[in-house]
C-alpha cells in the first residue's frame, strides 16, 4: 500500500483545522469517505476533496503535499503511524500527540507539539513560539517524546514542560525553558533573554554561553556521567545531535531559577 497523500489544491483564505486527518481516524475509511470528511475553516466547512487531491490508501503513513502555514492542528492527538508534511505547517502542529512520528519539511507555527505525550516531532525549518509548551491557561506542557528542530525556535520554547526532550539545532528565542517542571532542552545555537525564567526543575543544555539572569547561580565546572547516556540516546535521530562530535560531558553548571525551587539547571558546554 502506498502512503495516503493529501495534495493541497488551493491556498485557503482562512485557517483550516486539520485535526481529523490523523491515522487513527482515517483507518478503515475508503478514499471516498475520507474525501467526504469536513474540515472547519473560519466559519465555513470544506470537504477534504475540495481542498486536497487524495492518493494512496495506507492511513498509517500520511503525507501532506504543498502544505502551507494556514493548515492548523496537523497531527492533533495522533496515536501512532507517520505523518509527513511537505511545506509549512500552521499552528498547533502535533498538539497532544500520543505516539508516532510527525516530520515537517518546512517551518511550523505557534504551539508546535504543545502538550505532546510521546513520539517524535521533527521540524526541518523553524518553529514558532511556545514549542512543546502548555496551551494557554494549562499548567502542563510536553510530557514525553522528542521534538527535533533543525532551524530556530521562537519564544517560550518548553514553557511548562514536564518531561521529554526538545532538541534545537539553531537558536532559541527569549524565555526558553520558562516555567519548566522537568525535562531537557538542548540548544546548539544561541539563546535569548530570560533563559529558564521561573523554571522549577529540568535541564537546559547549551553549546554557547547564555546571558543568564541574576537568579541563576554558578555551581562550577563538572564532568557529568549522565551526559554520555543522553547523547547516546540521540544517535537514532537524523540530526547534528546524533554526530559523535556533538557529545560532551564537561559542563559549567548553573542552578536556578533561585526565585523558584532552584532545582533546575543550565549546563553549558566547556571546551
Amino acid at each position: 500500500m502506498s502512503a495516503l497523500t493529501f495534495t493541497l489544491k488551493l491556498q485557503p483564505q482562512q485557517r483550516v483545522d486539520m485535526s481529523s486527518l490523523v491515522p487513527q481516524k482515517l483507518q478503515n475509511l475508503s478514499s471516498a469517505e475520507i474525501g467526504a470528511l469536513e474540515l472547519q475553516s473560519g466559519k465555513k466547512k470544506f470537504r477534504v476533496d475540495e481542498l486536497f487531491s487524495i492518493e494512496g490508501s495506507d492511513a498509517q503513513q500520511i503525507v501532506i503535499q504543498n502544505s502551507c502555514d494556514k493548515l492548523d492542528f496537523i497531527g492533533k492527538e495522533m496515536d501512532g503511524g507517520t505523518l509527513t508534511v511537505n511545506g509549512d505547517a500552521g499552528a498547533y502542529l502535533g498538539l497532544g500527540i500520543k505516539n508516532g512520528e510527525i516530520t515537517v519539511n518546512g517551518n511550523a507555527g505557534l504551539y508546535a507539539a504543545c502538550e505532546m505525550k510521546k513520539g517524535l516531532v521533527t521540524i526541518t525549518g523553524n518553529a514558532g513560539d511556545f514549542l512543546g509548551a502548555a496551551l494557554p491557561g494549562n499548567k502542563m506542557g510536553m510530557k514525553g517524546g522528542t521534538i527535533l528542530v533543525k532551524g530556530n525556535v521562537g519564544e517560550r520554547a518548553g514553557d511548562h514542560m514536564r518531561r521529554g526532550n526538545i532538541l534545537i539545532e539553531g537558536n532559541a528565542g527569549d524565555y526558553c525553558g520558562s516555567r519548566m517542571t522537568a525535562g531537557t532542552i538542548a540548544v546548539m545555537g544561541q539563546t535569548g533573554k530570560y533563559l529558564g525564567y521561573a523554571m522549577r526543575r529540568g535541564t537546559l543544555l547549551l553549546w554557547n554561553q547564555p546571558v543568564l539572569s541574576a537568579n541563576f547561580n554558578d555551581c562550577g565546572a563538572h564532568t557529568l556521567a549522565f551526559l554520555p547516556i543522553l547523547f547516546a540516546s540521540f544517535k537514532k535521530f537524523n540530526s547534528k545531535f546524533a554526530q559523535a562530535s556533538a557529545g560532551f560531558n564537561r559542563v559549567q553548571r548553573y542552578a536556578g531559577d533561585m526565585a523558584e525551587k532552584g532545582r533546575g539547571e543550565v549546563l553549558v558546554k566547556l571546551n
Binding site: 557529568l224 547516556i229 543522553l230 532545582r263
Partner: protein, 298 residues
C-alpha cells in the same frame, strides 16, 4: 565414567529455585569498578546466613557499559523476591553509592522490576535529579566527589541456585589446584556466579545436625579426617575434598558451567592426584533441579 583417570560418580547435584538480579557497576577505571563490585558482593557466600548469594560475573569492556566506562557485572541470588530487593538496595547503598567515581546500572532489562537506585535517591535530600532517557529512569544524586548516577530499577528473574560438584583429591594442594583450574574456566561462562571465597567451598554441609538449633552441619561423609569415625563416602587415598557451588540464571547455564569446570579439573587428571568428581544432593527430595554428572560430561 572415567575422564583422564578421574572417576565421575553416578550421582547428581540438587539445586533450588531462586530469584536473581544483575547490576552493572562502572567507575573511572577497572580498579575502582572492581573495588565497588567486591564490596557489593562481599559476605554473600550462602543464603543460610548472608541473606543472599552474590558474585562478580565478569569484567566489562567500556564498549559494553551504558556510560562507556570500565565496568563489572555482578549478580545477586536470594530465595525470594522481597529478600533479593532488600539485599540489592542495602548493598547498592552501602557499597556502590559510597564508592568513588562509581555509577550503577541495570543488568537485566526484562523481568519484574525491583528498585536499584530508586530509593537511594532520597540520599540526595531533595537535590537529586531524575532523567528519563530512552524509557529508562536514572537518578543523579549529588555526592562529595561529583554526582552518583544510578538507574532506578533493574530486572528480577527466576533462577537456579545450588548447582555443585565435589573434587576429591589425594592431597589438599591438589584439590585446591583442581578447583582453581575449574573456577578459572567457569568464570568465562555467562549468567553464573560461584559465590564462595574464590569460588571454592571447603566446608560443604549436610542437612540437619545433632544440635537442635542448627539446620545444617559439616558433611561428615566427605570429611577425610573422619574416614574411620563415620559412615564415610571416601576411599582411603582421599585426603581432601573441595566443592564448587554454582548459581545461574537457568539450568542450562549451570549445566554448561559445570561441564567446563569438571573438565578443567579432570584435565589435571589422576596423575595430579585428582581421583573423583562427585556432587551434593538430598536424595532428590528437596530441589527440583537435578544435575547428573555423567549426563553433563557425556
Amino acid at each position: 565414567m572415567i575422564i583422564n583417570g578421574v572417576v565421575i560418580d553416578e550421582t547428581f547435584a540438587e539445586a533450588f529455585p531462586m530469584k536473581a538480579t544483575r547490576a552493572i557497576i562502572t567507575a573511572q577505571n577497572e580498579k575502582w569498578a572492581m573495588i565497588s563490585a567486591q564490596a557489593m558482593t562481599g559476605f554473600a557466600t550462602s543464603v543460610i546466613a548472608c541473606g543472599c548469594e552474590a558474585g562478580i560475573e565478569r569484567v566489562l569492556d567500556p564498549s559494553e557499559t551504558p556510560d562507556g566506562r570500565p565496568g563489572v557485572s555482578v549478580m545477586i541470588f536470594a530465595m525470594g523476591g522481597k529478600g533479593l530487593a532488600k539485599q540489592l538496595e542495602t548493598r547498592a547503598g552501602q557499597c556502590v553509592l559510597t564508592s568513588p567515581t562509581s555509577a550503577l546500572f541495570a543488568g537485566i532489562d526484562g523481568g519484574t522490576r525491583i528498585a536499584l537506585g530508586k530509593n537511594l535517591r532520597y540520599f540526595g535530600d531533595g537535590f537529586q535529579i531524575s532523567k528519563q532517557i530512552d524509557g529508562k529512569r536514572y537518578w543523579r544524586i549529588p555526592v562529595m566527589d561529583g554526582e552518583f548516577l544510578t538507574e532506578a530499577t533493574t530486572g528480577q528473574v527466576d533462577a537456579v541456585g545450588g548447582g555443585n560438584f565435589l573434587v576429591l583429591a589425594e592431597s589438599q594442594p591438589q584439590a585446591l589446584a583442581a578447583c582453581e583450574a575449574a573456577i578459572e574456566a567457569m568464570r568465562k561462562m555467562p549468567n553464573v556466579i560461584m559465590p564462595f571465597p574464590g569460588g571454592v567451598v571447603r566446608s560443604g554441609s549436610k542437612v540437619g545436625s545433632k544440635y537442635a538449633s542448627l539446620g545444617a552441619s559439616t558433611n561428615d561423609a566427605f570429611c577425610p579426617t573422619l574416614k574411620g569415625a563415620t559412615k564415610t563416602d571416601l576411599s582411603p587415598e582421599i585426603e581432601s575434598v573441595m566443592e564448587i557451588v554454582i548459581d545461574g540464571l537457568t539450568k542450562e547455564d549451570i549445566d554448561k558451567a559445570m561441564r567446563v569446570g569438571i573438565q578443567a579439573a579432570c584435565d589435571l587428571g589422576a596423575a595430579n592426584g585428582i581421583k573423583r568428581i562427585s556432587a551434593g544432593n538430598y536424595g532428590g527430595k528437596l530441589g527440583p533441579f537435578h544435575f547428573h554428572l555423567q549426563e553433563i560430561m557425556a
